[in-house]
């Protein structure tokens, strides 16, 4: 057994050691993740990439305490997690707003759950509504907004309570390309100001390269860490313009060579 705190860097935020996860299925138990180990530093933007069904989202759920591990350990800031950690934000694939609450009340939700009084949280909520460009929509209901606007509410909803760690599960996959690039740039702007640790799951390699400091590539199911890539593109980045960078194309090509075999395996498995 490795002793905790000895071989972990002082600014390690998340540390996964030999984590395996299994799901009950028709054929007994299916292994979703097998001996996954990696660490994320504080303030780092890391993306997890892999073929569909490789357990990318499961990694986030394990960290968030929403899924149980079969073996291995997950620690946050050197402490083994037990249930839902404090100071965590999770942006899901769908926006998951409360349809019966206005934009303002949706953004205020986390603060309300943390016991803040209305007078006290008003300025913070207003501030975030302005930052995501929805100040004029505070009294609208979610169904009155476009998909991109709802996503911005979901983002403000998470950032308003200032979590140190933000997990994002394909947050922009449901958006059209233009809206998506806008949102990615907004996310980078917000992140560069706040310097939160972000663990971002996507199946889109270009999105991962344009946003991240580092990319972790998973194999086809059961997901194992196949490789890790440092994305040495200059910051601040514009996700649309960074794509014209020669280094961007090199990185895409390098990672794609490794990803391709896994995608082929996953595709063959899905057709059986």
């Amino acid at each position: 057994m490795r002793r905790l705190g000895v071989d972990i860097l002082p600014d390690t935020h998340i540390d996964l050691e030999e984590v395996s996860v299994a799901f009950a299925s028709k054929a007994g138990e299916t292994l979703a993740l097998e001996n996954v180990s990696f660490a994320v530093q504080e303030g780092e933007f890391v993306s997890i990439v892999g073929p569909s069904g490789c357990g990318k989202s499961t990694i986030l759920n394990v960290i968030a305490g929403l899924a149980d591990t079969l073996s291995g350990r997950v620690s946050i800031k050197g402490k083994a997690t037990n249930g839902i950690p404090k100071d965590i934000g999770y942006v899901f694939q769908s926006d998951l707003l409360l349809p019966w609450r206005t934009v303002f009340d949706n953004v205020a939700l986390a603060l309300k759950l943390r016991g803040y009084r209305t007078e006290k949280m008003g300025p913070a909520v207003e501030d975030w509504l302005t930052r995501v460009g929805l100040a004029g929509f505070r009294n609208h209901y979610p169904h009155q907004l476009s998909g991109g606007m709802r996503k911005r509410v979901a983002l403000a909803q998470t950032l308003v309570y200032n979590p140190e760690l933000i997990l994002m599960d394909e947050p922009f996959s449901a958006l059209d390309v233009q809206t998506r690039n806008m949102m990615e740039n907004e996310l980078l702007d917000l992140w560069s100001g706040l310097r939160k640790t972000v663990l971002f799951v996507t199946h889109d390699l270009e999105e991962a390269v344009s946003l991240s400091d580092r990319i972790i590539l998973l194999t086809a199911r059961p997901g194992r860490v196949k490789a890790s890539y440092i994305i040495d593109l200059p910051r601040p980045r514009n996700v649309t313009e960074v794509r014209f960078n020669v280094r961007f194309r090199e990185l895409i090509e390098q990672i794609w060579q490794d990803l391709k075999t896994e995608v082929t395996v996953a595709y063959a498995a899905s057709r059986q």
Partner: protein
């Protein structure tokens, strides 16, 4: 052939405009249909083409309803029917909601009780009316119980389905934000349940009224159902129709109120 083609090729918006008649015309047609129906009934009955003993006459029915209303005879009966409907709905909805939450929260209770609930729901509740009258007497209670026995299932199934359809990740999200089990209940589950309750509001109130009327009809000394049953016992077709006439206004009034309530509480769904 040519005309059909041209109309099929026209843009949707133009089609809609062409096909939707003016509200004035609709209103005129409605009133026209009523006049034709009531007029031919009145004429056929007055000229003895049909036997007025069995079918009565619109003028007699309206006069009878007016007499009942002006003498106050029908008002206390209507009030009793409304009170029974109200209690049947409120208690039925409350019990149905509690049952739905119980089965949603405990999968063992769910699996144990669900078959019985399905069977009970499949039974026509109206046939229980004599039993309820036997158990709870001729008064208000038996009618309220009959109404509850119908409403409880409508509300139970609509809230139960609604709770099952709540996105698990929405619950997870509230927990991740630091919410307790109580917060999940207050912020997610109860609002979802209420939105399903309101969507079945008109149906359940309607059936609460059916319970009250049928109960009164089968055995009671009060209520609109009793008035109709009493008139029927006297072979008084005019009385039966007058009772139905007043009842239909009660239904319209209740529906109108329910629509207002529904619109008020589901404002977040409107455009």
């Amino acid at each position: 052939m040519l005309r059909q083609d041209s109309s099929a090729g026209s843009p949707k918006a133009a089609n809609r405009l062409k096909n939707s008649p003016s509200p004035l015309l609709v209103m005129a047609l409605r009133i026209g249909a009523l006049i034709v129906f009531v007029g031919s009934w009145e004429t056929a009955s007055s000229l003895k083409w049909i036997n007025p003993f069995f079918v009565s006459r619109p003028s007699d029915i309206i006069f009878r309803a007016y007499t009942w209303l002006s003498s106050g005879y029908v008002l206390s009966h209507t009030a009793i029917t409304i009170v029974e409907t109200f209690f049947a709905f409120v208690l039925g909805a409350l019990l149905g909601a509690i049952l739905a939450f119980l089965l949603y929260r405990s999968s063992i209770v769910d699996q144990a009780l669900m078959p019985y609930l399905m069977i009970l729901n499949a039974m026509p509740r109206i046939i229980f009316a004599p039993i309820f009258i036997l158990w709870f007497g001729l008064g208000l209670t038996s009618k309220v119980v009959l109404g509850i026995s119908i409403v409880i299932f409508i509300v139970f199934f609509s809230i139960y389905t609604g709770l099952k359809e709540v996105d698990q990740n929405l619950i997870n999200k509230v927990r991740l934000m630091g919410g307790s089990e109580k917060d999940v209940l207050l912020e997610v589950l109860i609002p979802s349940a209420l939105s399903w309750l309101f969507s079945s509001l008109k149906t359940s109130v309607g059936f609460a009224l059916v319970g009250a009327i049928v109960g009164e009809y089968m055995g009671s000394a009060n209520g609109l159902g009793h008035i109709i049953a009493f008139a029927e016992g006297m072979f008084d077709a005019t009385g039966v129709f007058a009772g139905l006439f007043i009842l239909s206004f009660v239904v319209i009034a209740i529906n109108w109120c329910m629509e207002r309530v529904e619109n008020h509480f589901t404002a977040w769904r409107m455009g």
